[in-house]
């Protein structure tokens, strides 16, 4: 005996009121997340709808190749997302390496090969102070 849960689109739309509330709070407190919240809402809707049907197909087909393909796609997107986050701090270490320090300078060959030549304009702190 299976009990089916019927969820209408209206109920999903009602839940969107909570998303609007979250966006309003973010706007009110200037948390600067409104855009992210909207993007997250739309993306989760599209992705879950697509993936729901894909998973259904994969469960019904029950072949190892489809499962492996799904895993590959998931790992790929996971790596992509992680890479995106890693880029945010790009250049910080390099800027630190370029700054004249009170420590004895490393051998020029090591520094030039590893961190690029010294004729590159010296990086400044890209993040300005908040206030």
């Amino acid at each position: 005996v299976t009990t089916s849960i019927d969820v209408s689109l209206w109920q999903v739309a009602a839940a969107l009121a909570l998303v609007a509330l979250a966006a309003a709070i973010s706007f009110w407190r200037a948390a600067d997340l409104e855009r992210d919240i909207v993007v997250a809402t739309v993306r989760s809707f599209v992705q879950l709808t697509l993936v729901g049907y894909a998973i259904k197909l994969i469960f019904e087909a029950d072949t190892i190749w489809l499962v492996l393909a799904l895993l590959t796609v998931m790992v790929f997107f996971g790596a992509l997302t992680a890479r995106h986050r890693g880029r945010e701090g790009a250049g910080l270490l390099r800027a630190a390496a370029d700054r004249p320090s009170r420590w004895p300078a490393p051998a020029p060959s090591a520094s030039s090969s590893r961190w690029g030549s010294s004729n590159r304009p010296r990086a400044t702190w890209s993040r300005s102070a908040a206030w």
């Binding site: 909570l18 948390a31 997250a40 879950l48």
Partner: protein, 136 residues
Amino acid sequence: MVIGNAMTASAVALNRLGDEMHDARARIEATLALGATAREAAAPTVRRALRSGMITLVDSTKTTGLIFFPGTMVGMLLAGASPTDAVRLQLILLYTLLGSVAIAGLLATNACLSQLLHARAAASRARRKPPRRLDA
């Protein structure tokens, strides 16, 4: 799930709020000295705390379905429900989580902020008060 996520988000936000208030103490006091109210002086700190509390869930919501399959949906599919219903229920859950995390973060930072400000005011009052003489 709603309560658990709200707990995590407010814990992260409060942790960040405490750290930032500690670090930005001089800046906050300078802003106060320039005539800002306590809430105004702490506003940037509260903003960052609230943001860090919410951003984890927002980010994971963005990647839902690509990397992370939410358990409710998978469970319903495994149990034989139609993908439409499973997806819709999961969406309702995700949106509820977003709202609850925002509310929890807001309430927690608000409550903790007034606590911090009052504690600070009490501490400075205590500092200014001359030591009590026992013989007087």
